[in-house]
Amino acid sequence: MTSLRIYVVRRILLAIPTILILLTIVFVVMRVAGDPVSAILGGHAPAEQIERIKEQLGLNKPLYVQYLEYLWQLFHGDLGRSMIWGRRPVLVEILEHFPATLELSISAFIVSIFIGIITGVHSARNYNKPTDHMLRLYGIVTYALFIPWIGLILQLIFGVYLGWLPTSGRIDTLMEPKHITGLYVLDSILTLNIPSLISAIRHLILPSITLGIYLSGIYTRLTRSNMLEILRKDFITAAKARGLPEDTIIYKHALKNAFIPILTMMGLQFALLLAGAVLTETTFSWPGMGTFLAERIFYRDYTTVQGTIVFFALLVVSVSLIIDILYAYIDPRIRY
């Protein structure tokens, strides 16, 4: 295990330059690509007002001072203050909306992996049979679908036509569980609040399935092709020759080996998961980061938008870090 620990430390240290580069890119793009002042005030504002905004944003200082101040603030966890409505700290606002997105992303992620792996394994097991052809089609079609369109269909069937499930929001009014993590499902469980739990899950189902289906196709295809490749390997034949049961061979030997590229894909897909969450949120009026970001872009809340992008960027880096560590945990060959 020590080799694993060394690997983890090394990998964390390597993440630092990545983060610095990302933060620099965000800084450059936000300063160079757009003029925040005219974005906020529109084209023809009085010079005096422009000066005031510039000072407020620190834009009158030399660029390198701005850059260092930006890093210094971030280093202290300060993402600045919103430019509208009481100038609340951006981080506070993000943290208010993030749990909703996290909850949706986690459950959509689980749905997509679950569907993708089951269909992929099933497809590989029935190689070249009708089941395989159908599931391959699924793997291609879902990828080409448009999230609001999947969402709309599900809303029509399960919300409007059958009336089984709610089509918008996170939970019924006044049902919010006591705030612990901000994830309603988890908080309801922690506080043993059954009615809230049921309400939260009912609201979560359609958005998670929408996003889950959209993301599952790539896992179906990837699982299938990796399983086919692994099932041809000598060690699978050797396992059969030892008389191991088929399920042990498929799930314990083959799937675990096929899982490494799938894990990589999970890391790569994470950015898509966030982007997908943004679209899903707007389709289902889900009060998370997507809805929040769309709203603040509309209001030209410059600092909040920048802060949110920084937040997303850090999130993507941390997730890829976690994936890499998981990787080493599963595959002993990576640690050495």
């Binding site: 390997k233 000598d234 060690f235 034949t237 050797a238 396992a239 059969k240 020759a241 030892r242 008389g243 191991l244 049961p245 088929e246 042990t248 030997h253 675990k256 080996n257 599963i330 595959d331 002993p332 060959r333």
Partner: protein, 319 residues
């Protein structure tokens, strides 16, 4: 005469490829007794592996057992379903493969391979299985402290030792070893051969030792089965085989080996091409390369006949 353990009768295994039917094993008969080692030799592509795999019914698609019987300990394996075969595989007939580098699960510890195999076939606790796994590793010359290592930490020779331990884990009746030393370098080859010879006696297992290298087989075998183009053309005890082989193919083979002990390049210099199993020659499959071929050899397929006691040959020169 010992007790018969395996009898293969009229076995045909064909691959149904896009180009046509490859008759990889075509009407093979052979038998072996408990605890004896049969060396199965033949050129590359003569169907040795196909024959070995078909005994465990592990022919990869598009291969199929088309006809024949594989009678193991009184049971015809061709009649068994997958579930029944699983109880035979590993427990009563096991296999050692050619390439030890790819035959172990890279994500699984060495010891766990053994524990899993033992626990699949026997009702034992994990502790008991681990104890047995350690004993097996010791028998094949692997230190107990390597139990928790992964395959990539082992050399080819060490991995082949693990494969041997796995094959012996449940004290099977027969181990099918498909070119177990071909992928290893020469010194390691000798070590592995020695090990197999020793363990064969210690565990009292029968063995089908497949090789294209007749000198390797000579060392370890009680009997020799010579394969040519999907058929067994000569089958005899090892000593009579080397001293008075009958088939022209055997003659040519052994001529090209000046000294069994020293050689390592054997089956190379026989004139003519190895046969194409998609379009095998008519009559006797060896006739295009045979110095003694007569007209009957082109027309009819000779039967495998017992010429002396226990010495079978498939050639019209012997009646």
């Amino acid at each position: 005469m010992g007790e018969s353990i395996l009898e293969v009768k009229g076995l045909k295994v064909y691959y149904y490829t896009r180009e046509g039917v490859v008759r990889a094993v075509d009407n093979v008969d052979f038998f072996m007794e408990k605890g004896e080692t049969v060396g199965l030799v033949g050129e590359s592509g003569s169907g040795k592996s196909t024959l070995g795999f078909s005994i465990l019914k592990l022919i990869p698609p598009p291969g199929k057992i088309v006809d024949g019987k594989i009678i193991f300990d009184g049971i015809d394996l061709t009649e068994l379903d997958e579930k029944e075969m699983r109880e035979i595989r590993g427990k009563r007939i096991s296999m050692v493969f050619q390439d030890p580098m790819t035959s172990l699960n890279p994500l699984m510890k060495i010891g766990d391979h053994l524990v899993e195999t033992i626990m699949t076939h026997e009702e034992v606790t994990r502790e008991e299985a681990e104890e047995r796994a350690l004993a097996l590793l010791r028998d094949v010359g692997i230190m107990p402290d390597r139990f928790h290592d992964y395959p990539h930490q082992f050399s080819g020779g060490m991995r082949q030792r693990v494969m041997i331990a796995l094959a012996l884990a449940l004290n099977p009746d027969i181990v099918i070893a498909d070119e177990p030393t071909s992928a290893l370098d020469v010194i390691v080859q000798f070590q592995i051969l020695d090990l197999m010879e020793r363990l064969k006696k210690q565990y009292n297992v029968g063995m089908i030792f497949i090789s294209h290298d007749i000198s390797v087989v000579a060392e370890i075998s009680d009997k020799i089965a010579l394969m040519y183009a999907g058929q067994i053309v000569e089958y005899a005890n090892a000593i009579p085989f080397f001293e008075e082989h009958l088939h022209p193919y055997a003659e040519l083979l052994l001529q090209s080996v000046p000294n069994i002990e020293l050689s390592d390049q054997k089956l190379k210099y026989i004139p003519g091409l190895p046969p194409d199993l998609l379009h095998p020659p008519s009559g006797c499959r060896f006739h295009p390369r045979c110095p003694y071929a007569e007209s009957i050899c082109k027309e009819k397929d000779p039967p495998l006949l017992e010429i002396n006691t226990g010495h079978f040959v498939k050639c019209f020169r012997y009646k």
